[in-house]
């Protein structure tokens, strides 16, 4: 930015910045409204929805943070996200390894089958899935959410990992085989460690997908003690529909983990999304 800029360039840049700030405000203002609104009481929200709280009312946040319900939902979301991610990444890595490095009859057919799976939205399968899970006794059981989530996450995970596995040179594998590695040894001791960046990417995608899933936990868990954050937020809104400030505080607190993950793993998330589209 130190190079001399003529006035035309400078005013152009100013316009670009103004556009960015305006768009940024559209994103930030609703979130900020939530954060500050959580520190107000409802009277303040009516008379002063935009300004700073006066006085600051921390009770909305502290009540939620000390109640236990929020922490339980956070824990449920976390457990389900971690378990779904481990299963989908594990199963997809094994399949992607075979799809990337073995030739066999029917390979392309299988790959196409998984690729078409990208087009099966949860909404299409949710009803028969519910009937089947009920038949298997998996309602009000975290596995009833974890396993379908893992299954629906397979296509994107396989596509990204397969691409990555193909870039690992054949010499690495030949060297491993000479050293006495079987396919399992090569996969476990060499391929997976080399694929760490790709595994991080697909894990972040899987965690975000699980964390934000609403429809499946909504129908699988009638027992409140298994509710995840999205289900909990929606129920909280229904329960306290007159207490806007309290609902705002709950919404804001439920955003914190997602935004924290985003701050840490933005690169993996963006890289994964951009990479999956290239495939």
């Amino acid at each position: 930015m130190t190079r001399p800029a003529n006035p035309a360039q400078r005013s152009r840049r100013l316009v670009l910045h103004l556009v960015c700030v305006a768009v940024g405000a559209l994103i930030v203002v609703p979130i900020l409204f939530g954060v500050l609104g959580g520190f107000k009481d409802n009277g303040q929200l009516s008379t002063n929805p935009l300004g700073l709280p006066d006085p600051w009312v921390p009770e909305n946040y502290t009540d939620i943070l000390t109640s236990g319900v929020f922490w339980r939902q956070l824990g449920n979301s976390l457990l389900i996200a971690v378990a779904s991610t481990l299963i989908v990444v594990g199963a997809a890595a094994m399949a992607a390894f075979v799809f990337a490095r073995y030739a066999f009859r029917g390979r392309e057919l299988l790959v196409t089958l998984f690729t078409i799976g990208l087009m099966f939205p949860f909404a299409v399968a949710i009803l028969p899935l519910f009937v089947m899970l009920r038949g298997m006794g998996l309602l009000d059981n975290p596995l009833g959410v974890i396993l379908p989530q893992a299954a629906f996450g397979l296509p994107i995970t396989i596509i990204i990992l397969r691409q990555f596995f193909r870039t690992i040179p054949g010499e690495v594998e030949e060297a491993a085989i000479l050293d006495g590695c079987g396919p399992f040894g090569f996969f476990w001791r060499i391929l997976l460690p080399m694929a760490r960046p790709a595994l991080a990417t697909v894990s972040v995608l899987a965690i975000v997908a699980s964390w934000n899933n609403f429809m499946l936990p909504l129908v699988v868990f009638t027992d409140q003690s298994w509710w995840t954050l999205p289900v909990g937020v929606q129920a909280f809104q229904g329960q306290y529909s007159d207490d806007t400030a309290r609902v705002l505080a709950y919404v804001v607190l439920s955003m914190v983990p997602a935004l924290a993950l985003y701050a840490v793993a933005e690169r993996q998330l963006v890289g994964g999304l951009a990479g999956s589209v290239k495939g």
Partner: protein, 330 residues
């Protein structure tokens, strides 16, 4: 394919392999055929089992159930043929769902995508703080649809909301955007766009940064204006990504549920209802599982037909290009 027992993959027959003495012979000893088959089966089993049982089977179950009048309990017995489908297409609510899906798709293609494209081009410029802007613009994508929807319900809530105050400033009465059948779909569209424009922006930005600078510079040197360079060099090269973005947008709209369910529940008087919401109402509230399954299958067929058509007609060139590039790398 001359020796099927050897390891395959894009690097098969790599010239560098010649440096290793007798790799073929070693391979045959290390990996006899039956072992290879077992290994393939073991590696594929978990993914295939999960996928067939929990993704494919539900589709099969739904297509079967859609032929019955069934409350979801016991086994379906009351076979009604295609009646559930005829009923859906005669139902004004479901026809409305299709119409609203079309409106939302047109809205995304004519407003959301061009805005995302514009912002991607903007963030591709040399601009102080552009990575910060990118971070902010993309942030809503990580928030769940439910959180976003609850937040915006409150932002637009009458009396206590932000929307009320701002519209009072502007002299309008937009505070009740979700309560008015005429405006509710616009409200849903705005919130959906708020959450998802960053995704399309990020995809287009990544694609834009993959285009070599020289191409644009050459066009400019040859006397093209900035607009001409964008229109005839950048835009065609962004084609594949734009087509994928269109695809994601259409498929996403067909299955839209969370956002609508939390924002409006499909109301008032069905004016923001989507296919998925109608399906949920019948399947999980009224226990008309046969009818709801028919709606699921229509959603599925719409996605599938669109995807196949799109793959054939629109994405074909892109795939062909991708394959030649890969072949070249081999």
């Amino acid at each position: 394919m001359s020796s099927p027992s050897t390891m395959s993959g894009p690097r098969r027959g790599h010239p560098g392999a010649a440096a290793v003495p007798g790799p073929r012979g070693v391979r045959r000893v290390a990996r006899p055929r039956p072992g290879r088959r077992v290994a393939l089966a073991v590696f594929l089993a978990p993914a295939l089992t999960l996928f067939l049982l929990l993704v494919i089977a539900p589709i099969v179950v739904a297509s079967y159930a859609s032929l019955f009048k069934w409350n979801g309990f016991n086994l379906p017995e009351n076979f009604v043929g295609l009646d559930n489908y005829l009923r859906a297409f005669a139902d004004p609510v479901f026809r409305g769902d299709l119409w609203r899906a079309l409106l939302l798709i047109v809205g995304s293609l004519t407003i959301q995508l061009p805005v995302a494209l514009g912002l991607a081009m903007l963030l591709n410029q040399r601009l102080a703080g552009r990575s910060f802007y990118r971070l902010v613009f993309f942030a809503p994508y990580v928030l769940s649809e439910v959180t976003t929807a609850v937040l915006f319900t409150l932002v637009f809530s009458p009396n206590r909301g932000l929307g009320d105050t701002i519209s009072r400033w502007l002299g309008a009465e937009a505070g009740a955007i979700f309560a008015d059948p005429d405006t509710v779909l616009i409200g849903v569209f705005l919130v959906v766009s708020w959450k998802y424009f960053g995704l399309y922006m990020i995809l287009l930005l990544a694609a834009r940064q993959g285009i070599p600078k020289e191409l644009n510079e050459a066009a400019l040197t040859d006397g093209a204006t900035t607009w001409q360079a964008f229109r005839h060099v950048t835009l065609p090269l962004l084609g594949p990504t734009i087509r994928i973005a269109v695809f994601l947008s259409v498929i996403g709209t067909i299955q839209l549920f969370d956002m609508v369910w939390v924002l409006t529940g499909g109301g008032p008087i069905h004016s923001s209802e989507t296919m998925a919401v109608t399906m949920y109402q019948y399947g999980f509230r009224r226990f008309e599982v046969g009818y709801a399954s028919a709606i699921s299958i229509v959603m599925f067929l719409l996605s599938l037909v669109f995807a196949l058509f799109y793959q054939r007609v629109v994405l074909r060139r892109d795939t062909a290009g991708a394959l030649t590039v890969q072949g070249g790398q081999r």
